[in-house]
Symmetry: D2
């Protein structure tokens, strides 16, 4: 067995934090070191999350009281803007960093600062950050010290598009992504919109005039497009479920091709992407609590239109699961270690 | 047609407020005058509740800017402790007051102050307050100027017990009420417990060591018990639904009797209590969005135990619907006016 | 007051049936005559739907035992293929007919027979059928004897598109409708897909290769398009809620125009279409249990793309509510009679 | 590592079947051999449950085509009455059998036949069956060849009561269990009651006049009561969630005792029972997808009443998880093997 490493989680009391704990508690190569939370500092983790009674005896600490540099790897499951405060110092000390927030997801700093409405604290280390989408950037991840873990929508959407864009098969300028996310994507925020009385038995679009995931998606699609810059009409919607993202993507083909062949070839050896039969409909429940992405597609007869359907669990392949997948790759471990979980059905 | 009266709603932006608006907007004898909300003052009601677009053009006002004494009747859909600030002045000016919160529900001031953790502001007018459970206190309500509208749990539980207690048929000291409430009962509170991510696919008891509705229930059951003081073991639970209360009540019979006969006689002419067949199971959805309470019961063979089941919509018969029922009685109108609504199924 | 008419409901035990009963029980100009259901014949309606206890004392009858010609108007809330068995005889006897199923929705019989996989029983009366979308066909409905009540998806989608198509403002050949429906749209079918264990906490597309509402929408859009035949890429999805449809529609503009002006002008006097501000997001809960359709739109900057959002309650404006609206128009009554209901929130 | 055994699952397409597959697919000591389903024979398991795509390549077989005696252990996840057809032959051939249905749960055959309304097919082997509640019968399970896996309600309720009954601390004749179950407890049955349109936003009691779990509970409580026969007033309710049972149990104490001491002592070394602090409220979500039972209690001041609260996941500790726990014990393996799963939150 590989020797265990010490990992810490900054911002452990939110939903991506608790999901990391669910995975890492059983990960064979990891010892959980610090779990920070300013709000809950001093409390046992299991007081906030009784599901972890008997599993974890850690207390939340304040990030100020502890030394993250004693860990081998640090996950930031924090609001945007926190990881960039710590990253430089950690990297300088040889600590690996995986940021589940957005601080290092966009290379274009001006774009980043426009969307995130704050100055970037460490533009100098941004070039070192590897965008942690293993199916696309696995080789770079292997040698990375700093990972920008992709957003949830971006993961679902990019996995559905990159195989086609790389081959120059679709028009990169007329992509439409009608995306739907479960409510845990908003985090554990005490906002009226996310109360059960408001969100259940409801459905709506939101952020019509601009969602932060759009520049992230466009930048990374463009990097993987053989026909240049990609443009996205992105409409997110709020689903009355806790976990899951479903992206329905509309593209215009510029060549004749068999999507099954393209997708199956691209994802042939991927442990966490399941290419389904053409015309089938992947469902969110079929990936819930797992790190799997399932993709299908439908060629509209007598047109150039192709519809691609993609589902993930936003807290897993869209956040914590993918972060652990990235850790496994960075550490040279079996990529599925600790995340070979079977979806919870029913 | 009767002449219309002017009614105002203090605290119109919470869930009992919006429910009052849903009813009163179509009530034939009512003109809605002021709708106050400190938080939303200045905004159109329909901005906060788009369901009211095209229905109401009012803006929320601050209670400080308007004169409630220009109304004929004022509903308080406020947190506990607000109505008692205004009631005396309103009553002195001949305005009728219906408080949907708890300020006037308990006659025993010490008990009230213990549970609500504040001094009572107008103990002198407390004796004038009529506990607004029409099926029990209709005659008093007719002449009341100040109504303490019952709590949601108390309504469901008292309607299930009073017919038996009045006749001295059950032991008043060994009553158990296992009660379950939908999440709107907590109001529009931005608290993590009520987030959809927390509350859905979940169920738990709460307030084991004491819930404010317990002294209210016990006081009023005792007043209606022919065998003296009633005592209640009350365990509330949080249901993962928006609307509805289900009370499962366990009592010990001290005489032989046919519960069907007792209940049917007591509620014979009641428009809002439906006595179902023995051994049937009333369901919450069968009263949703209506002012109806449905009651059934099950005599446990070979024992003295009787189980009584009672369901209401907590925002209707448990709050706004009952408040309007009380208004109708106070005004001498047809009791069902504006609240003869059919449950929403499915 | 107008004199009451006798109406019967064939197929009263499904979800559009019960919804008709919820409305008609309180409709001032209607006496409910027969309510048929082969499966539940002989049972009281309230045994199947306890929500109607105390409201309706009718028993379900078999359509064979009763004479529908004794009614003035008959609603068919039946599976496809039933209304066409009865319609001719009823029309010949001067009875008005409103079919909530699909028998008369498509004028092109070949198309109809292809999609519904049965021979049409009365092609001769099909020309008499008026497609009951009041906002478009009000004048024809006034004089109609036979109404084809539109499907739920078609209502939400057509109301979002017809104002633009009529004016020739958008390309009729590149419309995409990404539509999401609550589960009651499937009716009260005992199919595993619609079990709560399967459908809750889930989301998926379905009928990718063809949904029966598509030819209905295309035929009627084409009739209202000033630029000829309309074509639709229609992807329906199953929402984990009971009631509601949300259509997200993507179109390409062929002229410069202000969608607010167009929509507001078209729907200016409509009681059941609410045109919201540009860039706002209508939510399903804001129309639940009401006959309202709310529409908004978003012009994508620097493109010719327009996104239109449309929500309805599938059982109301998408079925029973619209059927009653049609009845009111046919009878010359106030169009909102009995359906001026306020959405249930929360 | 221990050598792997071959296990088969009879009735693999229901919810306890799929849950067994979720666990057993990752169980290190098990090879899944046959998975039978008469309805789905011939289909790949992953066609029925896409969540198992890439996990299992088995096809469902008909039990008639295969020889169960080639397995080492057979789970019956079938309707009641099936296991007793096969059990004798399997036992005679040295195959271990775990029945997740009710065929061997009740020793009193007359009682069994009354509640299950069929003749018992193998009363002669009934005495060999061990009631598979490990916390109570671990020693017997070790040597058992035939396990009657307890029902879901019985597991939650017995674990909450047996520590007290064994010590003679409570009155065994006045126990009330107000129990609530998620809808997956009903299995994958195409019955209208379990449709999402019916069950969501709803709550009701059911089987008031008798539920099959009652005699099972009473028989086993009585066996573990130091004060003789136990009697239970058992009222089950249907929760609008997929997974989980919450039992609220009311008992009368006949001695003074500290429930914390009693429960902690009894469950001190148990891996799957978590005794929480007095007066805390275990929630269903805190055990979801895990094999854990969490128990708390509340001593009602100034009375002899004790309230005990108990939660489990009905498909795990209430079915498949407990079945695997029993297998582990029978095989002499680490008891937590393959079922050391962390609850899914949120």
């Amino acid at each position: 067995m590989d020797e265990k490493i010490k990992v810490s989680i900054v911002g452990g009391s939110g939903y991506t934090g608790i999901e990391l704990l669910r995975i890492l508690s059983l990960h064979p190569n990891v010892d959980i070191h610090h779990i920070t939370s300013r709000n809950d500092a001093g409390r046992h983790v299991y007081e906030v999350y009784p599901s972890l009674r008997g599993v974890l005896n850690h207390r939340f600490t304040s990030p100020d009281e502890i030394d993250l540099k004693e860990s081998n790897l640090v996950f930031f499951a924090t609001p945007n803007g926190v990881a960039m405060e710590y990253a430089k110092d950690l990297l300088n000390n040889g600590i690996k960093v995986i940021d589940l927030a957005a601080d290092f997801r966009i290379k274009n700093i001006k774009e980043w600062e426009k969307w995130y409405e704050m100055p970037h604290k460490c533009p100098d280390i941004l070039p070192k950050a590897v965008y942690g989408l293993p199916e696309v950037n696995r080789e770079k991840i292997k040698n990375a010290q700093l990972i920008a873990n992709p957003g949830c929508y971006p993961t679902a959407i990019q996995l559905a598009l990159i195989p086609l864009l790389k081959e120059g098969l679709i028009d990169p300028l007329s992509i439409i992504a009608d995306a739907k996310s479960g409510i845990s994507g908003a985090g554990k925020k005490n906002k009226a919109d996310f109360l059960m009385s408001e969100a259940s038995e409801n459905f709506k679009a939101y952020s019509l005039q601009g969602h932060r995931h759009q520049p992230e998606i466009e930048e990374n699609l463009s990097l993987n497009s053989s026909l240049g810059k990609a443009k996205l009409l992105f409409v997110p919607h709020l689903l009355p479920i806790v976990r899951g993202i479903h992206a329905t993507i509309y593209v215009n083909c510029i060549k004749d091709f068999d999507a099954s062949v393209i997708f199956n070839k691209f994802y042939e050896k991927e442990p966490f992407v399941d290419v389904m039969e053409a015309n089938s409909c992947p469902e969110i429940k079929s990936v819930r609590s797992s790190n799997m992405c399932r993709i299908s597609f439908f060629k509209v007869p007598d047109t150039k239109q192709l519809v691609i359907l993609s589902v993930i669990d936003n807290l897993m392949k869209g956040a914590a699961g993918q972060a652990v997948q990235n850790m496994n790759i960075m550490m040279g471990w079996e990529e599925t270690l600790g995340i070979h979980l079977i979806p919870l059905v029913p």
